[in-house]
Symmetry: C2
Subunit: 418 residues, 2 copies
Amino acid sequence: MKKNVLIIGAGGVAQVVAHKCAQNNDVLGEIHLASRTLSKCEAILESVHEKGAMKQTGVLKAHQVDATDSAAVAQLIRDTGTQIVINVGTAFVNMHVLEACIETGAAYIDTAIHEEPDKICETPPWYANYEWKRRDRCAENGITAILGAGFDPGVVNAFARFGIDQMDDVKSIDIIDINAGSHGKYFATNFDPEINFREFTGVVYSWQNGAWNENKMFEVPKIWDMPVVGPSQSYMSGHDEVQSLAVNYPQADVRFWMGFGDHYINVFTVLKSIGLLSEQPVMTAEGQEVIPLKVVKACLPDPSSLAPDYTGKTSIGTLVKGDKDGREVEIFVYNVADHKEAYNEVGSQGISYTAGVPPVAAAMLVANGDWDTKTMVNVEELDPKPFFALLDQIGLPIRMQVGGLGGEDKAWNEEFTL
Amino acid sequence: MKKNVLIIGAGGVAQVVAHKCAQNNDVLGEIHLASRTLSKCEAILESVHEKGAMKQTGVLKAHQVDATDSAAVAQLIRDTGTQIVINVGTAFVNMHVLEACIETGAAYIDTAIHEEPDKICETPPWYANYEWKRRDRCAENGITAILGAGFDPGVVNAFARFGIDQMDDVKSIDIIDINAGSHGKYFATNFDPEINFREFTGVVYSWQNGAWNENKMFEVPKIWDMPVVGPSQSYMSGHDEVQSLAVNYPQADVRFWMGFGDHYINVFTVLKSIGLLSEQPVMTAEGQEVIPLKVVKACLPDPSSLAPDYTGKTSIGTLVKGDKDGREVEIFVYNVADHKEAYNEVGSQGISYTAGVPPVAAAMLVANGDWDTKTMVNVEELDPKPFFALLDQIGLPIRMQVGGLGGEDKAWNEEFTL
């Protein structure tokens, strides 16, 4: 049994993580929250207390830390007696936080691939550039490191694994992420604009016919008839989970599809075409060196500010196709989340909610030993069933459509035959 | 007779001014070019020499100066024996340069209204905020100051005056600026993006029914069937010349129409809606204070870089309606310029060309005494005929359509009856 959680980060996802940890502090023990800006941690703590989210009396504390300083993070882990770190800070800090976990023996959970500020869309598989280089050291030191345990990557990887487990072999994995919600602003991203835009400014990597395939963003469109939200325009996009699923299931085509409306595409295209999404500095006429993307971020609404007025639903799932007993079979596993319900429960919008609940479920599985792997893993390497059971229980009900999208709709744990 | 010209600025318009001064150095004497960045002045000098533009052997020299430092500009005026300053630097420097002229007795010519960096679209008439406050001092000191002597403002004001001179009374003045050229870039502005965008982020002031009228940008569209380039979509816009024509002809409606394609409007709308055209600083997550508009400027192509590939024509004119002998009459006075021809002659695109040739014509009229007013004037207060004659001669042929747009087409100095 592992106890005491340190949450790194204080954005919209961290807020959800803090609430969910508080709601489950009988399992997780003390809850510590640390980021560069102490006041942001304190605001989250206040919101936890406002909602009366603590399941039982216990420690809930804010700390200031520079998460790129591994030694400082390690010291904080020791000072707080943390055994599980949930890292939902910016993706730029990931390897620094992981190093602190390797040093201290704490379990590590994150929700996105590590990124270096000045590099976009490195050589696939991306996990091999930073995370997997530390896999042997995790195994040697018995460090539990669960990579990409948000919704996507994370829950959708478990969806894939669940589907694959029903088959003799897998032929294709299509992950489909549709946000049919509306925030009422002219334009906003649902999480850190810097990370959001970086996802779409590089090459779109997919794994098809046993090889990495390259496309441009918005080059490959596809309409999917999604549960609850209906037919939705999407585009093949590069995304973390493709990078591990392709390695773990090289026999399958692995693609990621993100829903985009025409307005998002237009704004994105204008900003990108002008060079305003660049992570490389430009020099103003006055001689100031500036990274355009950081200025765009400064101009856009803070994603957490969208929550109060956000309406509508997300519908995100994984379509797995394969063979069973010599027949072609399909299954679509998914979740539908509601922005307004998320706000009412934890004060965050649905995108933060779907990203923040899963790492808490993962932490609970590490705490109870089910997922305490003592090595580095991606989510599809783990048994999805206890994960689904916990997600159902703490706010993300998991369903499936047997026979593929539009098939018979069931809860994931109902009886079915492919 | 005044002699020796100091050109302030080293952008695309300054390049045209330098070439045209060189082509007329028999009238203008020594030519000095000064800006914040010496190397930009030197590049312009090199291009003048490449084209062999100097009419006769003479002085052509580059200087470094901070044009916001009036004392430094005054010293440069004295050191160079300058009697005529052509100020085509950014509009932020205008009053600093004018002060240097008042101090030294040099004549002053500019092409745009003075702007303060942190203020957009001040109370009309804009000239009253900065320029006209110095009118009495110009008169007392016998300073010739010709305001807004580019194309628009400038030549279009003379077009208005020419039309009005044919009538008993004027009822309306519509200035129409259509650039039907193509630069082949995704997006670019034809002059300093900072000044360009600032023109359209504020209130659209027009003068109608004897009062200032307020509209939003892109609120009032109108298609004009322009000479040579044909039917062109335009929008009522705020512009310098409205600000003086309304005061000088309060009995007339005065409007300015700028041609915009859907693509420009889309890019502008995206950038403005997000806040990227703001002249007010924002703070990045890293704590850097940045003015978004300056970053947009840094990302966009340098307007002077558009010249080599620019094709097509500009068609800009003034439609004047009024009464003569009890009848309603109309006249449209205009110029058509060709981007490629401009580039071949002076290495600049057509917008820079049309903006840069007129202040040189004005300087030549100051030099020969025709426009040596010994006080501050806007262009419509001056006799347009010697101006048109010079413009015809140095590269901007002036034509008219008698009876209004689509009427009988003639050179401005042909016989006609309204």
